[in-house]
Amino acid sequence: MGKIVPLQQAVAENLKPGDTVAFEGFTHLIPHAAAHEAIRQGIGDLTLIRMTPDIVYDQMIGMGLARKVVFSYAGNPGVGLLRRMRDAIENGHPRSIETVEHSHSAMAQAYEAGAAGLPCAIFRGYKGAGLKAVNPDIRSVICPFTGEELAAVPAHRPDVTFIHAQKANRRGDVLIEGIIGVQKEAALAASRVVVTVEEIVEDFAGLHPNLCILPHWTITAIAEVPGGAHPSYAHGYYDRDNAAYLDWDKVSSDREAFAAWMQDNVLAVGPEAFADRVKGLRK
């Protein structure tokens, strides 16, 4: 477990057509490099889970690799809508996709339940909310002590979760720092876990005991991809490329511009391109 391999191999060995997959990251540490590798390998028919599908799912959807998206907020953070995802939902281009829509709270707790090996998450939520009527995965249970009706959603159990992290050590333990989002839960909920990291260090000696660390035996494969979160950011390494998020709004607004961008920036390059992209963003 936790073997260190090239990204191409990590993706090829762990993501299969038809898989349910989460590329997680909450604004911070979004695994762009891993998603681009999946796009290059053309692995399709995927069910994509993510709280905040943003550019990276817009790209996968625009390339026709998704058949279903499970999500709670589909936007380009701080910018606007996701135009390729809209095109798929509104116009069926390049293919129609199924959507399963939740609230953030439900999604976060569905991952949490997955990490805990439970079949469902139970919480106080969705009161008066319209999603209950359109998502049959939103059900309820009655508290056996108070009689209160609580919301229930199925646990997320991805076939594979991809995350980006700051560091791995030689043994394959992984460190996540800063805005840690739902990555620990998404990783522990999955059958297989692939992690891209900014760097591989010898060991984690001297770290504070209470940091967010995934032990090596919970990880399937690790690939070192400096800059691999770009245009998202990696706390301690480089800043968010806000301009790239703004640019995406233009790129994604046109089917041909999108195709050309994907050709130039994803299909024609490799994971090594990411290091260059963050050069001007390093602190």
Binding site: F26, Y73, G78, E101, Y111, G125, Y126, V134, H235, R240
Partner: protein
């Protein structure tokens, strides 16, 4: 100060409603600006929480996204997102949640999900994110919105988050224990719900705004309070604070390069 934009007035009017005792669940955009203006003026001890897990944050510039590095670097603590929703939001620790809206009705119900039919939408909007539970778990909800007929509608296309439903005691009937929307601040006016019907009523017009301007930009027939007030214009300090914050933000997000 008399030289200010409607958006500046909206932001400052929202900021004034906050105190140092508040714990706010902050969204991006106008709410974030309002909360930080409050923090930088009359409410220095206000607690700002962003759903990315950053608790007690004090950013020097406004974040572009809900999870900018600045939020984490200035926070008292940064927790996981499941913890954020479980212990902090659902746990009932937030006094005020801010929500925006693509569509809003007179009872504070909000749609940010779809325009048109859910299954065949005319426009697929981003969806609710944290809103469904912000609306029910925060002590009260403040809504900020630029007025427009397509935004303030008679009937929203989708109930992304529940305000006062059909009005009256609809929240209580659903077992919701929090107050729901208690304040609507637009670029033109300050609205509060009628204590009985829960319909939003205009309580205060911003300087230079007429009743007609409010009605023309609202899709329902507007009720005005009998004792309609005028919103005090931004003070020099308020406006300078907001503008300096926006300028710092602009510089930071353009990589420090002056435009």
């Amino acid at each position: 100060m008399s030289d200010f934009t409607p958006t500046e007035m909206m932001t400052i009017a929202a900021a004034r409603q906050l105190t140092s005792k508040d714990v706010c669940f902050v969204g991006i955009g106008a709410p974030s600006a309002a909360c930080n203006v409050a923090r930088l003026t009359h409410a220095p001890d206000i607690t700002l929480i962003y759903e990315s897990g950053t608790i007690g944050t004090a950013p020097d510039v406004l974040p572009l996204s809900i999870g900018d590095g600045e939020l984490c670097e200035t926070a008292v603590s940064t927790v996981s997102v499941p913890e954020m929703f479980r212990y902090w939001l659902m746990g009932g620790r937030i006094s005020i949640g801010f929500l925006g809206a693509a569509q809003l009705d007179r009872f504070g119900n909000i749609n940010t999900t779809v325009i048109g039919d859910y299954h065949h939408p005319k426009v697929r909007l981003p969806g609710g994110g944290g809103a469904p539970e912000i609306a029910s778990s925060c002590g009260e909800v403040y809504i900020t919105l630029k007025q427009a007929k397509r935004a303030m509608v008679e009937k929203i296309d989708f109930f992304t988050s529940f305000g006062h439903g059909e009005g009256g005691d609809h929240r209580q009937r659903l077992g919701i224990k929090t107050k729901g929307p208690t304040l609507l601040i637009t670029d033109l006016a300050i609205w509060r719900p009628d204590p009985e019907t829960k319909e939003f009523v205009v309580r205060s017009l911003h300087q230079g705004v007429t009743r007609e301007m409010v009605q023309e930009t609202c899709g329902w027939t507007v009720r005005f309070a009998d004792d309609l007030e005028e919103t005090p214009p931004p003070t020099h300090e308020e406006l300078e604070t907001l503008r300096a914050l926006n300028e710092r933000t602009r510089l930071a997000h353009s990589g420090g390069k002056a435009a």
